[in-house]
Structure formats: C-alpha cells, structure tokens
Amino acid sequence: MHAFTQLNGLVVPLDRANVDTDAIIPKQFLKSIKRSGFGPNAFDEWRYLDHGEPGMDNSHRKINPDFVLNQPRYQGASILLARENFGCGSSREHAPWALEDYGFRVIIAPSFADIFFNNCFKNGMLPIVLSADDVDTLFKETEAAEGYQLNVDLSAQAITTQSGKTFKFDVDAFRKHCLLNGLDDIGLTMQHQDAIKTFEAKHKLAQPWLFN
C-alpha cells in the first residue's frame, strides 16, 4: 500500500446524501478479477449518458455534462467533498479502488458507511469526517471559487484552506500510523502469529466443534 502524508489538491463537490457503492461502481464492472482499472467507470451511470459495460472504450462514450465530475473546472480533482452516509450499501472494495484509480486520495463527508470507510484505509486513501456545518462551509467555498484547493495534512490531522482557515479532524491512531507509513496490515498481523496460534489452541480446546 502506498503511504499518505500530505496533499494539496483540487476539490470537487458531490452534493448528494447516501451515495451508495452501487453508484460509485456499478455491478457489471465487478466481474473483473483485477484490482485496478476501475477509474474510468467510477460513477458510471451518472457520468455517462449511455450504458457502460466492461471492456468498452470509455473515451468514445457520451458524457453527461451536468454531472459535477465532468465539469471542466473540476478536472484533476483529488479531494472529493460529499454528504452524509457516503459509501453505504455493498461492501465491494471496487468502490475505493475506482475512486483511487480516478485520482481521489481524500474524501471529506459528515459521515461514512462503516465498511466503505474501513476499505479506504486499505488503499492509501484518507476518509475524513467533519461536522455537517464544516462540510457545508466547504461546499459553499468550493462552489464559489473556481480552482478551490485544500491542504490535507494527516500528521497534523488538519485541513487548511487557501485563506488559512484550519479544520482539525480525528483519525484512529493505528490507521494513521499504517497510512503514514504505507504499512501492509497482513505483515503487521503476522508479527502476532504466536499469539494467534496460542489463541487458536485454547479456542479449539473450548469449542472443538469449530475445528471439525
């Protein structure tokens, strides 16, 4: 996993609540057995006017000019600003894969669905929870000023606007450590393999039917 430390990035505002993972990456793209290449199909049903299928040449498809990600001023955005309960629904990790492949490294929202939130950290992306009021402020500022950027500093747990306003955010200490250092969870857990073996032996003694 790649590390995340700091980012200066263009912000795109996606002004919808309860954006689900079916919307982030529709089911037909889940047939892939790879974990890359989902970016061109992120938000496929909102982004294009035709029906997308795996293997299509997306550069020739009709785009939906009304969808915010398609607006010229938001091209190259790496910070997604969203509303509450972002990433609800299916556990598909293809959703963070698609967002990451599109170019997003940070998602800011008043709340996230649990599984999606967790999946982001496994892919070097930082989901940030701010209060609904602070998110509202960022929506207004983003929409008001073309080229609106934010600085996100994970180590300081702070988002800074170009005018110098700062929003502090919480992040779980373990997840922060993993993200800052680009650490692979499996490698870390394997450091506890003796403890796992000890637990397993005890567990088997207590509930042998689990090991039939």
């Binding site: 002004d15 919808r16 609540a17 309860n18 689900d20 079916d22 919307a23 529709p26 089911k27 037909q28 889940l30 047939k31 892939s32 057995i33 790879k34 974990r35 049903e45 029906h51 795996p54 293997g55 509303r83 509450e84 309960n85 609800c88 629904g89 299916s90 556990s91 598909r92 990790e93 963070p96 709340s111 996230f112 669905a113 649990d114 599984i115 967790n118 999946n119 496994k122 892919n123 779980d172 200490a173 373990f174 969870d185 499996i186 857990t189 394997m190 506890h192 393999q193 403890a195 796992i196 637990f199 397993e200 567990h203 207590a206 509930q207 042998p208 039917w209 689990l210 090991f211 039939n212």
Partner: protein
C-alpha cells in the same frame, strides 16, 4: 463480573490481542464467493502465502451464475467475463483448498447467506465473515457476522484474524405481536424507516423483544440480513430453542457428544438481564403494516396504506433534495397512494427472502390465481439448490408456474443484476430484495422493496395491494 451484552460475549471471546482499543479478533468461518475473492487469492499468490486455516473456508458461486440454461453447463453463461470469474473461483479453491465448496450447478450451490446456515456451516458463537455486506444475516444464529472488503478477505485468509475496533451496541426491541400478513421483512423496513440508513452506523445491533422471539430462523435471517441497510455491519439475535432446533442435524453441525457440549455453551449466548446498551430503539409490532419503499434508499418506506411523501413538506434541505431526486428517478408523484402504483416485473428471491418459508408464503398468496396482464415477468429464484429441491417436493414450483411465474435456478439473480436477470430502463419492480438504489436491478430500473407475500400479491393485482385484505378475496 459486569453484565455483558450478546455482542460483548461474542467479541470478547474472540480477542487475540488488543492495544489502544484496536483488537485482532479470531475468525471461525470464512464464507467466500466469486466476486470479492479473486483479488484476495491473487494477493496470497503474489506474496507466496497460504490460507492460515483452509478448513474455515466454505465457498460457493452465486452472484454471476445464470438462473436458466443450466442444461448447457458452463456454456450457458452467456457473458464471458462472468464465466471467467466463476472458473477463477473453481481454480482458486482447487489451489488453496476449503472445508466445503459448492460450485456452479452443484446441488448445494446457492446464495452464500442461504447456503451457510442450511449446511450448518454457520453456528452460534462463531465469528463469521464474507466479502459481502449481507453477511450480517448469520447473526440470526447468535453469531458475530459481518461483511468485509477484499483486502480483509485476503487478511483473514492469511492470518485467520481481522483488525477490529469494538462497535457500540444497540438494542432494537420489537414488542407486542405482528398482525397477519406482516412479516420479518416488514419489521426490517419499519426499523430502517424509523432509524434511517445511517441509524445503525458504528453499532452492532441486537434484535430482541416478543416479535423477534416468535420469528422462525428464516425470519430472523431476513431481519439480520437488513441490519446493514440500517448502517450496522452486524445484526444478531440471542440463541434460543428455535436456533438450536434449526442447527441440529445439519451437515456441518456438531454431532454426538460434541453436540451436547456445544448446546450448553450456545445457551449462554444471550445478553445478561442487566446488560447496558449504548442505544435502545423500541417499536410496537402491533403498529407495523406491510411496508413498500417508494424511493431510492431503503429508509424511503411507508405502509401499504400510505402515500408517496411530499418533498414540499420536508424542511431539511439535503433530505428534500434527496426526495425530489428519488421521485424523479422513480417516476412518481407526491401523494400518490402506494396501492395505485402499477408494476412491470416481480422478483421473489435474494439473500433476504429466498428461503423455503418465503417461497411457501408467496405461493400461498399466488395459489389458484394468475399474474396480471401488465406484469411482463414474475421471477421466483430459490436461494439454493436445497431450497429449490424442497420447494419442488412440496409442489410450490407448480403453484408458481400455474400462476404465470417463472421458476428459476438458484443464485443472487435480479437482486443486483450481475447475471442476465435485470430491469430495463424505466421498468418498475416489486422486489423481495434488500436495496432499491438507483440502477441496482438494472440501469434506470425502479425497485420497490416488499415482503414475499406482498410481491406475490402485487404480481396478481398488477399493482401494490394490501396482502392482509387481498388474501381473503
């Protein structure tokens, strides 16, 4: 020792290590399907790792599998990419191993959340994970069960553990008694309507109260299945006689002297009387009507006697915007009575409502009647090969076929439309599945979530109808 909730007991008994609130918990059962596993197996392969305990793995193919054309075997899978994914699961299980595997067309194949319990692969007291959000279903057995992403699938395969922070606990108690024609699905939708799709975020929900105690295991599975639609990764129900009677004699359930030891442990899997929950929500079962969703989120739901809500009456701007967008997508006008909404298709199936009890209930409504002429397709997709065989032994397939329904092979089918079963743009469906998101059942498709009885009644009437009065006509 302080009083513990069921969730406390399940979580605490699986902690391997804990540091600053982040725990490694041991996983007893890992259910695997073809969509969220290929990248995990590939990860193991690239790192030269093997599964820590392959006997924890139980696998099946369900999401991509076609529900007809089985006589052609793998060649019946029209989409070559779907076929590759199914064949990839075959080869991965062959390479890495599993306790049990029910491949495409095996008689035990089925939706992973139907197959696990019916095989006895899900047991009380277990930690159960699967790369699928509806893993919450298995909590019906007094198990701690939740969906995980593919990186975590790989993590569990490699280490038998999951990195977890303990959730908060919520008790959802449904008191009183349900009226006739009101089901576990209606209770699930009523709860989501009350607390919202993010109401359970950060919580593990225990469902309790007289209504839940009276549910069969099928009903409890339907309810726990939709815990994720309330935002909770895990839903659960305490163990009682219904749990133990269901598990007894299943292929992978403990036998002989192990059975008695298991049962005496399972009997402890209830919340202590004085256990404290972080939140409690109470509903009265007597007040719950058959539910129908009207929008594009499961929380957008009303009773069958209600009307499509009016966004003009909503004060919260974000909610109002969501309602307006939902009505536009759904092609509905505010204040339309739910019973005046005509449908084009019917889907009876999915990990929420495709078990034998669901099919019996739907067949009971459809018996001796015909689907309405405006209904283009009414699909019944059993949850597994075993459910299908049982239904056929009871003659339910014939009841459905006589009424004009199509009787299909098992799989996830039109719940998420990864196979060929789907809605066309603008088509409206009465569906027993779990998600009414935009495009979920097909691009532009319009999904209304209902119980199996309500879906069958809608198929006959051609529009939504109150099954409580319809059934007596």
């Amino acid at each position: 020792m302080s009083a513990k909730t069921l969730y406390d007991k399940l979580f605490d008994s699986h902690v391997v290590t804990e540091e600053n609130g982040t725990a490694l918990i041991y996983i007893d059962r890992h259910l695997v399907h073809e969509v969220t596993s290929p990248q995990a197996f590939e990860g193991l392969r690239l790192a030269g790792r093997k599964p820590w305990r392959k006997d924890s793995i139980v696998a099946t193919a369900d999401h991509n599998t076609p529900t007809n054309g089985w006589e052609k075997g793998l060649d019946g899978i029209a989409d070559p990419i779907s076929r590759i994914q199914i064949e990839t699961l075959d080869s991965n299980i062959k390479e890495f191993g599993a306790k049990a595997y029910f491949p495409f067309m095996d008689k035990g194949q089925g939706i992973v959340h139907v197959m696990g319990p019916e095989q006895g692969a899900t047991l009380p007291g277990m930690t159960v994970v699967c790369g699928d959000s509806h893993t919450s279903t298995h909590g019906a057995f007094g198990a701690l069960a939740h969906g995980i992403g593919t990186s975590e699938v790989e993590h569990v395969m490699a280490t038998q553990c999951l990195v977890q922070k303990k959730s908060k606990s919520m008790l959802v108690r449904v008191d009183g008694k349900l009226g006739g024609g009101v089901t576990a699905k209606d209770v699930a939708l009523a709860i989501i309507g009350k607390i919202g799709t993010a109401g359970g975020t950060g919580y593990a929900i225990e469902f309790g109260g007289s209504v839940i105690r009276a549910f069969s295991m099928e009903g409890r599975m339907t309810l726990c299945n939709m815990a994720i639609e309330a935002g909770a990764r895990a839903g659960m129900v305490a163990v009682d006689d219904a749990t133990i009677n269901y598990v007894k004699g299943r292929p992978y359930a403990p036998k002989a002297e192990q059975w008695d030891a298991a049962v005496s442990y399972w009997r402890t899997l209830v919340s202590d009387d004085d256990a404290q929950f972080d939140a409690t929500v109470v509903l009265n079962g007597d007040d719950i009507q058959p539910q129908v969703t009207w929008g594009t989120s499961p929380e957008m739901v009303v009773g069958i006697n209600g009307v499509v809500p009016d966004p003009a009456k909503e004060e919260d701007a974000t909610k109002k915007g969501s309602m307006e967008r939902a009505l536009q997508y759904m092609g509905l006008e505010a204040n339309t009575p739910m019973s005046a909404i005509n449908i084009d298709k019917v889907f009876i199936g999915s990990c929420t409502n495709s078990r034998i009890e669901d099919l019996r209930a739907a067949a009971n409504v459809a018996k001796g009647k015909k689907i309405a002429t405006n209904v283009k397709l009414a699909l019944v997709v059993p949850g597994s090969g075993l459910v299908k065989a049982q239904a056929e032994a009871e003659g339910l397939d014939q009841v459905f076929k006589d009424a004009g329904f199509e009787w299909r092979e098992p799989g996830c089918s039109m719940c998420l439309a990864m196979n060929a079963d789907r809605l066309e743009p603008g088509e409206r469906c009465a569906s027993t599945s779990n998600r009414n998101f935009e495009g979920r059942q097909g691009l532009g498709g319009r999904t209304h979530l209902v119980s199996p009885e309500m879906a069958a009644a809608a198929a006959i009437a051609g529009h939504f109808v109150d099954v409580r009065t319809f059934a007596t006509k």
